[in-house]
Structure formats: C-alpha cells, structure tokens
C-alpha cells in the first residue's frame, strides 16, 4: 500500500513547490483550495501548513520535536492526539485575539465537563468556507425530487472518473480513501429551502462548533424555518412533531438534527402512534451518532427508524461526521461510507504501530485537514473506522474497551 501511495504523491510533489508563506498568504491559499480544490496541490500545501504551525504553535513544535519528525509528505506529518485539545491551547495566533477568532469547546460527554476539548480558530473565515463548501458538496444541488439531490452528484463523480482506482490522479488518501467523489455545487443551482432544526445554534450554544456551522447553513440555505427545537440542550419534542405535521407537502425541507433528537422523536411517535411524512425531495442531515440517546444502535437501524416514522428513504439521509478539533466534516449518504472533502484526507491507523491499516481493516481515524490551518493540521482521533471503497466506514469510538477479567478500568 505504501509503495503505491508514494508513487502517487511523488508525482504530486513534483507539481507544486513549497515556498515559505506568510500566515495570511497561507490562509488565502487554503481558502483558494477549498473553493477550487486541486488534488496535485494537497501535499505541498499541507506540508506548508505544517511548517507554519511548527513555527507558530509552541506546543505543536514541542510535539514535532519530540517525534523528531521532518515530514516529506502529508502522510508523515505527526498527528496530535485529539486529547491534546483538552490539555493545551493549540493555536498559531499570537497576541490579542482578532475579531475573526473563535474558540469552540466540546460538550464534555467523552471525559466529563472538566475535560472539554478546546479548539482555538484564529480565522473563522476558513472554518466557514470549509463548512459551507463541504455541506454544498454533500447535499447540493437542491433539485426536484425526481432527480434527487445526491444522485446527480454521485453520477457526476462517476462520469468524472473520480472514484477510487479509476484515475491515476484520483485524490486518494494514503490508504486509498477517496478524498472526494461528490461534485462541487454549481452556485447557480443553489436553492433555499425551509430548515427544520433540532441541533445547536450559535445563539443557544455559542461555544459549539456545530452550533456555529448550523447557523451558517441557515444563513446560507434556509428559506425561513422556525428556530431550533433544541434549546439549552432541552429538546422540544412536541414542537418538533407539530412543525413536521404542518409542512407543505409540495415544499421539500432540510431537516438538520442531532441523531439523538431524531431517535427520541421516533420513540415519541411510536409511543403516541404518530408518523410524519416529510415532503418529497426533503433531506435529513443528522449528526452525533447515539450520543445522548439511551441505546447505541447501528446506522442501518437508525435509517430504518427514520424510514418508518419520518417517511424518508435512506438515500435522503445524510450523516455528518465532525468534531470540535476539526474545521472540516465528512458526510455519508444513507448507509454508505463517509467521504471527506478534497481538503481533508483521512487515514485509518493501527494504534499500536501508528501505521496505516490495510483497506478494510479497522483502525483509528487520523484526519489531515487543511482547514485547520490555524491550529494543527493532523489530528489523531480515537474514532474507529475502516477504509472501504469510496470512503470511510465509521465503527464508533474506541472508548469502550473492557477488561477481560475482573479488573476495574478507572476512567
């Protein structure tokens, strides 16, 4: 696997040199990449971001020095453990925070409220660009129901020869993960739709990176839906159910929600004998997995429940995978794999060796995200997944290891 990757990336490196860039110039290049990705530039740009972060981010410099790393390609950039965002401030900015800076914090569900991850983003414009462009690639264009919003994108991807293994310059990650197979949104095709939201928003969750993203999505795509039914972490099930009952059947919507909220809505529907039928052409975007829900159930079962109570086919459900520590997101349609956008590449690594796992073998996800230009470009998570044809299949979080005997595992 490594040999083949190296060949591809040697070719990439020969295309673009890595000149030293000012932080502003580097940010501009990242923004240009997000707007118009060029796979051949990913390696050089990623290394340039790494070098900038080595200079500007002291904890990161100490981390790189500890590893004695001098990466020559993006797969060699040392990945900071996601837990480091709980222990240190990993930010390239110096001096007083600018108006464009943001600080996001995780919910604390992984290790408790005293151990929240903190992500300092010195220029929120990069996060906004990545979030909106990633969403657009995953969902748009919002066309009529006959065409289907995502089918068109996938077919375009196929025609472009943009699937894994179909083109020598396909934007593969190190282990063959497709960097992006979803065609970018043509701006002229963008249509606003009513949003129904059961997710954090900026005004109710100012420290939530998800809340910020949802707010941007509404500002950009919402045609006047009601306020979120998730307020201060309290879900208004009655209001959400009523909103879905009062929809215009001729007007498709975008339902954006944390997965646990939709599962609770489904349970509420089962308890009360109610079903909802989203207008034809509607799209459901859920995120967060079963965090906050009573049971941990698989994706296929979740899609079945949505189909049963919301009247939405699996192909019209898009799952967003994101984390506080990343400015980019991966999306999966239905039961399909999660696909990163072109400015994010994902490796599946063996935690014992740090090396990439073969295709299909489970491992921990390591993300190399250009949109993290202001913090650290490579983040090693403890999310488990495996590289599959066309993306990454998420398998959960590796937090549930139990002792094989009677030993107590202290958190």
């Amino acid at each position: 696997m490594y040999a083949r990757i190296a060949e591809v990336e040697d070719a990439e490196r020969s295309v673009v040199a890595t000149p030293a860039l000012t932080p502003e110039a580097l940010t501009s290049r990242v923004l240009r990449f997000i707007a118009a990705p060029a796979a051949s530039e990913f390696d050089a740009l990623t290394l340039a971001v790494h070098e900038h972060q080595y200079r500007a981010n002291e904890p990161y410099r100490r981390f790189v020095d500890r590893h004695g790393a001098t990466p020559q390609r993006w797969t060699e950039i040392p990945a900071v453990p996601a837990s480091a965002f709980r222990d240190s401030i990993l930010c390239c900015a110096t001096g007083a925070p600018s108006a464009s800076a943001r600080v996001y914090e995780s919910s604390g569900t992984t290790e408790g409220p005293g151990r929240r991850a903190r992500h300092d983003v010195p220029d929120v414009a990069v996060y906004r660009a990545a979030a909106l462009a990633g969403f657009a690639r995953a969902l748009a264009p919002f066309t009529d129901a006959a065409t289907g919003p995502l089918t068109m994108s996938r077919e375009r991807g196929r025609r472009d020869g943009n699937w894994r293994g179909t083109a020598a310059n396909a934007p593969l990650s190190g282990n063959g993960v497709l960097a992006s197979s979803i065609a970018p949104l043509a701006p002229t095709a963008r249509l606003r739709r009513p949003f129904i939201v059961a997710a954090p928003e900026r005004h109710s969750h100012p420290a939530s990176s998800l809340g910020e993203m949802v707010t941007w999505l509404r500002e950009t795509y919402d045609a006047g839906g009601p306020a979120s039914f998730l307020r201060a972490d309290v879900l208004d099930l009655t209001g959400l159910g009523a909103a879905l009952e009062s929809l215009d059947p001729a007007r498709p919507i975008v339902l954006v929600a944390v997965t646990s909220a939709l599962l609770r809505l489904v349970d509420h529907g089962r308890d009360t004998g109610r079903r909802w039928h989203l207008p034809s052409g509607s799209v459901v975007v859920d995120t967060g997995g079963c965090k906050g829900y009573a049971n941990d159930i698989g994706r296929a079962a979740i899609l079945d429940r949505y189909a049963e109570r919301l009247g939405v086919a699996p192909d019209a459900v898009v799952n967003e995978y994101g984390m506080t520590e990343l400015c980019s997101q991966l999306y999966a349609r239905g039961a399909g794999p999660h696909r990163p956008p072109p400015w994010l590449r994902t490796l599946v690594c063996n935690p014992a060796t740090g090396r990439e796992q073969p295709l299909g073998e489970p491992g921990l996800l390591r993300h190399v995200d250009l949109a993290n230009v202001g913090s650290v470009v490579a983040v090693q998570t403890d999310d488990v997944g495996r590289a599959v044809d066309g993306g990454v299949e998420l398998l959960g979080r590796a937090a549930g290891a139990m002792a094989r005997g009677c030993s107590l595992l202290v958190p």
Partner: protein, 439 residues
C-alpha cells in the same frame, strides 16, 4: 466452541443437583476436605492430565503465556491443600454454623485462570450443590475442575454441574436464578445489575475492582521493582488483584528514577519470558490514549515521566501531579511517589470502595502503616507484593466470607466471621518465587 445447553436440559440438570445436594450433605466435612486435597494434589503434579489440558486450553483461549498459566495453577491448587481448607472451615463452619443453602448458581466472567474456582470448591465444602455458567472468554477451566472432582469422588462430582449459555439469555438466567438460593455473580457492573434484576434470593456481587502496590523506601530497589513487574505482567492486569498503581515512598528523585527504570527493565524482560496476550483494537486504542496523554503532559511540563515501549508492550508513568489517571491495563502502571506511606491513604481516597488488594513491599515494622492505608481504602486483602496474584483460600473476595456465604444467613443478619482483613504474613525477602520459570 463450547456447546450451549438448552433451557430444558438446564432444568433437568438443576433437578439432578437438588438430589445430589442431599447426598453431598451426608459426606462429612473432613471427608470433603480430604477429597479436595486429593484433587489439588493431582492438579499440582507436573504430569497431571488435568493440568496439561488446562495449560493447553487456557493458553489458547486467553492468549496468556504458558508460564503465567502454570503460575496460576500452582498457586490456585496450593491454596486448596487440606491445611488451609481446614483452617478456613474451622473459622467459618463451626458448630453453630447455619444450614447450607439449597443450590448455588455461579455466573462466571473474565479470563483470569482459575477465577471462580475458590467459589466452586467453597460451595462443595459448605455442602451446597452448584450450577456453574462458564465465562465466554474462558469456558474450559470450570469444566476440567468439575471433571477432576468427579474423578476423585462421585458424590461431590454429582453436586457440581458446569454449563454454558450466552450471557444475558433470559430463559437460562431466569431459570438458574429462580431455582437457586444464592447467586454468585462475577463480571461487569451491568451484568451484575441484570442478574440482580432477576430477583435472586441472595446475590453475592463480584464486580470489577482494582489493586495497588505500596513500596516502602527501605526496599525501593531493583529487586522489588522486579517483583512488582511480575505482578503487573501476570494476566496482563486483567484480574482485580493486579496492581494498577504503585505508590512509592520516595527517598529522592534519583532513587525514584532508578526504581522506574528498573521496573521498565523488568517489564521489558518479561515481554520475552512471558509475552503479553495480543490486544484487540479497542484495547490498543486505550493503551495508545493513555501513553500519548502522559507523554503530552510530560512534554508540556507536567511532573510526569513516561517509560513506554509499544513493541515490548508495557508502560510506566511516574506521575507527581496527584491526579489519578487510570491504567489502561495490559502492563501499564502508574507510579505515584509519596513522602510517606501514610500519604498514600489520602492520595487514593478517590478510589476508596473499589480496592480489592494492597500488595506491600516493606519491612515488617512498616506493615501497620500499610494496613492503615488498606483499611482506609476499604481493601479486602493486604498481602506481600509478591503474593498479590496468589490469593489464599481465606481471601474475602469482594468482601464475602469464603464458606459462610453458602450458609443460610442467621436471622440477625450478622456474620460469625471476623470482617477484618486477614493478615497474610510478609515473606522474609521479596522475589521468593520466579514467575517465569522459562526465563
């Protein structure tokens, strides 16, 4: 693959045990002890077929090295010789002892070799027939133990049945719990809670717990480090008697550094002599998270020192920050330097109620200090460091009396048995016995 018993067969099996219990109670206690003593002696024989089959089975099912399994078998059966059984029986089954329970149901868990065997033997000594559900991770040992007892004496053998069914099976559990008068539940808290919800008449909980080592400054040297390493490496810290923390009474920083280095050296040697079992992805991830977090904290100036070797499969984190980070197990230990042994009590207060054993390396004159720490933590066992993974039959596992637990409780609800931690006398010098004989 162990055959799964169906509920109808389980019902018939329990019916037979009811009859066998009557016959068992007609065997005098002295004779029961003598039978178990013969069984134990047979298992200790190097050429014993039971022993050979157990080593083959346990190394295969658990992944533990043969040296570790042999150690477990040696100590398990040495602890069940007549002298020790007689002493425990004299203490717990005196003339005014209550009547034996009608039937015990043992729901085993985990893969530590021999876990649950003391309970099985104790039930027989107390005159109580048993139905034993094997653990998914280690289904072989109880079968061999039952067969060896049956070979020694049919009356005891008839009073013991071993079966396997999927954990959580409602049909099996409801039947076993409803027909038993006492349930011994081992395993995760969720498992214990599930069995509790089945409404047992009596439930003895053997849930997850941890242990720690106390090392006095007088013996904080390489030889004690080697003993500690053995206890850390045995069964890869999967058992509740495995030390996860090592509280080190500090002389100075140089001595502590040397001790940590010696501990790492010994663990590295044991990686060859007694290799660690392969890790699952989740286990490897937990280890990675622990080591990387400690390294990050050290990098950022926290008073933490890390010696870890992924290839050799161990990690030592010396942490002066007084924040108790849990070990991910699999031969990873947190060393906590303290000024005096007495300080350990306050340091470990957050873990009170979860401690099973305290292993001590200290001169005899310092044992009262160690005993005070163990009592403050609510530990059930205080023992020499080199005996941590070799419990005596008298061990009040999870706080339960070994034999009295199988007697119908007295109306007063009180126990005849002294609840204080039994004293396990320190050996004259540590490292009295090498674990990895092949080293």
């Amino acid at each position: 693959m162990t055959a799964v018993i169906d509920p109808a067969a389980l019902r018939a099996c329990i019916d037979r045990l009811d009859d066998a219990g009557e016959a068992l109670r007609h065997v005098a206690l002295d004779e029961r002890i003598a039978i178990i003593d013969r069984v134990a002696a047979a298992w200790r024989e190097p050429g014993s077929p039971w022993r050979r089959r157990a080593i083959d089975a346990l190394t295969r099912t658990t992944g533990y090295a043969a040296a570790a399994v042999e150690y477990a078998l040696d100590e398990l059966w040495a602890a069940q010789a007549a002298a020790e059984l007689t002493a425990v029986a004299a203490r717990e089954l005196g003339p005014d002892a209550g009547a034996p329970e009608r039937l015990a149901f043992h729901s085993l868990a985990g893969n530590v070799p021999g876990a649950g065997v003391f309970g099985i033997v104790a039930a027989l000594l107390a005159g109580v027939p048993s139905i034993v559900k094997t653990a998914r991770r280690e289904p072989e040992m109880p079968v061999l133990v039952a067969a060896s007892i049956a070979a020694a004496d049919a009356r005891l053998g008839d009073a013991l049945a071993v079966a396997h069914w999927p954990g959580g099976s409602e049909a099996h559990e409801v039947l076993a719990v409803s027909r038993s008068s006492v349930v011994l539940a081992y395993g995760r808290t969720a498992t214990l809670d599930r069995l509790a919800a089945r409404g047992p008449r009596r439930l003895l909980r053997f849930g997850p717990r941890l242990s720690f080592a106390l090392v006095a400054r007088e013996v904080a040297d390489a030889s004690t480090a080697a003993v500690a390493a053995q206890q850390i490496a045995l069964f890869d810290q999967q058992g509740c008697l495995s030390p996860q923390y090592l509280v080190l009474e500090e002389t100075d920083d140089a001595t502590t550094t040397a001790f940590v280095a010696a501990l790492a050296t010994s663990l590295r040697r044991l990686a060859v002599a007694m290799p660690r079992a392969p890790l699952t992805l989740d286990e490897a991830a937990r280890v990675w998270r622990f080591v990387e977090r400690a390294r990050w904290r050290a990098q950022e100036g926290a008073a933490v020192r890390v010696v870890a070797d992924g290839d050799a499969g161990f990690g030592v984190v010396c942490d002066r920050t007084r924040v108790l980070y849990g070990s991910p197990l699999h031969r990873h230990v947190v060393v906590l330097p303290v000024d005096t042994l007495e300080d350990a009590g306050a340091l470990l207060t957050p873990l009170a109620g979860t401690i099973e054993a305290v292993g001590v390396a200290a001169p005899a004159c310092r044992w009262p200090d160690a005993a005070a720490v163990a009592a403050a933590c609510g530990a059930h066992r205080l023992c020499p460091l080199d005996r941590m993974q070799a419990p005596p039959f008298a061990w009040r596992q999870s706080g339960h009396a070994r034999l009295e637990s199988f007697l119908v409780p007295r109306p007063s609800g009180g126990s005849r048995v002294e609840a204080a931690i039994p004293r396990e006398h320190p050996t004259p010098a540590p490292a009295a016995r090498a674990v990895a004989r092949s080293a």
